[in-house]
Symmetry: C2
Subunit: 135 residues, 2 copies
DNA sequence: TTTCTATCTAACAACAGTTGTAAATTAGGG
DNA sequence: CCCTAATTTACAACTGTTGTTAGATAGAAA
């Protein structure tokens, strides 16, 4: 798969790819870095970023910018949406299609739309729970 | 309005508020800063950030994190959505309501959802146009 | 298998956006 | 007109991310 794009298959690239697909999570670059470091202490954060970008431009993963402080990377490329916790930044997939969400030409303001993302913001179970305890 | 919250009315605060409401834009903090500097060269970027946060927590404006590199601030607090240009980061309001976009409890994953944002990504008229010329 | 080279990685510095801190300034009540 | 708490400024620091370059390495070629 790397090879298809004329990219060499290095242990670093393999690790990044594997870590992303193991966690059905949406890890940040730093989280990927930390996980790989357990088995490959020499890997650099720079390489993780690089590889994540490579994978993204290959269309193998998707970069999510959801205002949680840092970018998250999603191995699920199929169209889907997200629940985002305002407290802890957790991101959870929403597998549901909302076909009604399409803009009539009159509202496009001249844009050429290539993707539609729906973000449900609120509190994740953990944060909502700890909230209740605290108050 | 500042006074309602026990905040003093300073020229800096008034300027930030006015600039935001003049531009129906979604300016970044830096953009607000630059505009105010024309008439008040002594204002500091720190104060702009501070005031934007104050306004946001008063519910007078909304902070948008759309992955365009920096936060944008939206004086329109009523529920609406956005068109975002992947090329230049321009943000345009979409005044349309999508009532169908509501998650059934089975898909909530335990989250308590407080807001739903729809982001239409693509190319704005300017960028789409310059594209055509370039290719 | 060994050589060779273009690609890749690591180290490090730098950068952008944003926030912390503390001293100097000022709004606005008394 | 004072006085003081609130505010602003200046500046440093911090986080997430990217640029650069020298050294290391995958993998094609011999």
């Amino acid at each position: 798969m790397f090879r298809d794009q004329g990219l060499k298959i290095t242990p670093q690239r393999v690790s990044v790819f594997r870590v992303l697909h193991d966690n059905a999570d949406h890890p940040t670059a730093e989280a990927v870095f930390d996980q790989i470091r357990d088995e490959m202490p020499s890997i650099s954060l720079r390489t993780v970023y690089q590889t994540l970008h490579d994978l993204a431009s290959m269309g193998e993963i998707r970069q999510l910018d959801l205002g949680t402080g840092s970018a998250r990377f999603d191995p699920n490329v199929k169209s889907h949406h997200h629940l985002v916790c305002d407290k802890c930044g957790r991101v959870t997939d929403v597998h549901a299609s909302f076909d009604g969400v399409r803009l009539p030409r009159t509202k496009l303001a001249g844009y050429r739309v290539s993707s539609t993302e729906i973000v449900f913001r609120g509190e994740c179970p953990d944060c909502a729970g700890s909230n209740a305890v605290a108050s």
